[in-house]
């Protein structure tokens, strides 16, 4: 059954985001709705700051279309923190039916996909998808607290401090349409370097892309933009090689959210950005606005996630990964 893609008739009603200081200082800085100069968003802990970003991103998306909590039928949300507490605590009190997700950095794509299925079939009129990551909470949990000043490897990615929120309705509700989805399968090709997520995730992204091109009988050059999130510089270069071998070479229309969000040299971010908040903030601040302006008409977005935990790596296991594909059109 993994050969078929899902046809959708949904669209983006609104979207919003909130990011940290480093993201604001990057190439997309002025495009974000909100930023915070100390990454704390007025909170005592990094975890609470991440929850606050989700709350603000969601409120920003609602405010742009004068919507309220009661206008939203259901919420899909998730993040990188253990037990997805960034979402549960950030969105507690909205009184909106809540579906918690865990898709690692692919959560943004997974949430938009499930929200679009519900909107397409009229289960709810408006469905939201919210996600986030925070550099300080993620580094402490997955690797070391940032205060340790650990040296980073060249292939390591920089977890983005940011949140993105999307409100999705039926086909006529918004300008950018969501036309198709190809959910990813969990794939593990034996990569066990927790500092090279790009290499671990690329086989899963390649698998989904190839399945989609075959099923849709389309080719990469038919799309104005193919954007992954977040393979970073390392993963994106591997993906190009894999896609060449598969007979679907990616041209100048291909890039990655983790490449766009930071200035690699000036910001010392090594292989680029990562984290649920990376693709969510780049999608909501750059891809969708540029589609609304007419720069891109037909876009493929593949959200990628590494489904490991630090414990599994310590136990000698390798890294399973996933890539969820969506097609947007204006």
């Amino acid at each position: 059954m993994s050969e078929n893609y899902i046809k959708l008739d949904a669209s983006f009603i609104s979207f919003g985001n909130a990011v940290g200081k480093k993201e604001y200082e990057g190439p997309l800085g002025e495009r974000f709705d909100m930023h915070c100069t100390d990454d704390r968003y007025g909170k005592e802990t990094w975890e609470s700051a991440e929850s606050e970003m989700q709350r603000l991103a969601f409120n920003s998306a609602l405010a742009k279309k004068d919507l309220r909590f009661e206008d939203i039928g259901a919420l899909f949300a998730g993040d990188l923190l253990n037990q997805c507490v960034g979402s549960a605590y950030g969105l507690c009190g909205c009184n909106i039916p809540y579906f918690g997700l865990y898709g690692a950095c692919s959560t943004c794509g997974e949430g938009i996909m499930l929200a679009s299925i519900l909107a397409t079939h009229g289960v709810y009129e408006r469905v939201a998808a919210v996600t986030s990551s925070h550099n300080c909470s993620a580094e402490r949990q997955y690797r070391n607290p940032i205060e340790y000043g650990s040296q980073r490897t060249p292939t390591s990615q920089w977890t983005v401090t940011g949140s993105g929120a999307f409100i999705i309705g039926n086909e006529n509700a918004g300008k950018v349409k969501i036309r198709a989805a190809m959910p990813g399968c969990v794939i593990d090709k034996g990569i066990n370097d927790a500092n090279n997520m790009g290499a671990a995730m690329t086989p899963a992204v390649c698998d989904t892309l190839v399945r989609f091109f075959k099923a849709s009988r389309t080719h990469p050059d038919e799309y104005d933009l193919i954007i992954t999130g977040d393979l970073g510089h390392e993963g994106a270069s591997i993906l190009r090689k894999f896609m060449d071998i598969e007979g679907y070479p990616l041209g100048d229309n291909y890039t990655d959210c983790g490449i766009l969000i930071f200035n690699k040299e000036a910001q010392d971010t090594h292989a680029g950005g990562s984290g649920c908040g990376c693709s969510a903030s780049v999608l909501s601040a750059f891809v969708l606005p540029e589609m609304e302006r007419g720069r891109y008409k037909k876009v493929i977005f593949v959200a990628s996630g590494a489904m490991m935990s630090p414990d599994m790596i310590k136990q000698g296991e390798s890294i399973p990964a996933i890539g969820h594909l969506l097609v947007f059109e204006t």
Copy 2:
């Protein structure tokens, strides 16, 4: 939008489960498909044993109807482990489109709900929902390694070692129909005792039940069975009081998966069973088979989850919770 319930036209094609030694020794012991006498399922670590239980439960559900991986359109899966690795590692290699969930102990209900929505609308012909918990992996992660021999409080629940898998199709595919769903909202009433999950989850379960009875204009005594999973003895007794106050008193037709799975006195399990695997194994080994045999015709199942993490409790936060409601009929 939280006042409406979702109408569904889905049914259970098959279901399967695998449990540990203590669960096999409990009142439902002989009903489970598989058990293991040392809870390791032939693996080196508790985490890998949990993954193996998911694989076995899913394979058991498939085998009962002579189905294969390629017959399943999509998988919804999740568990209690950090980054939901029980599911990602257990179901890696199936080559089935995968949606990772995090709903704490409510994951079983969340997965069946989303799978039923997809089956109702024909997105896929067959959709699976799989979940698990393991006493040793969960205790180590949430509280202390079992080797420490920590003393347990009277309100603490015993995390079930078990996994349940459900294969869902359209209305005509199976005998037990899934007629309605009322997804839960995240609710936090200020409980911050990590050893009293029953008290933390009860307000969320009560909220969903009351919203459902109001929306469906039905009353608790119209159902043959109302079963929560897993409030345990403590939460179930609180729920009875809350429902009395709300004007929907629960009668003898009410029980809880955490109450059914263990013999409280003989097995020293204090407030009863808990964990994603508790409601999943009780549902698949007791509730659904008894419905197929004709003992129950109309059943409400509410899967409850405590959406906290140990870190948030250490940071002084209270426990947000959720309750997802489903209506089954034969």
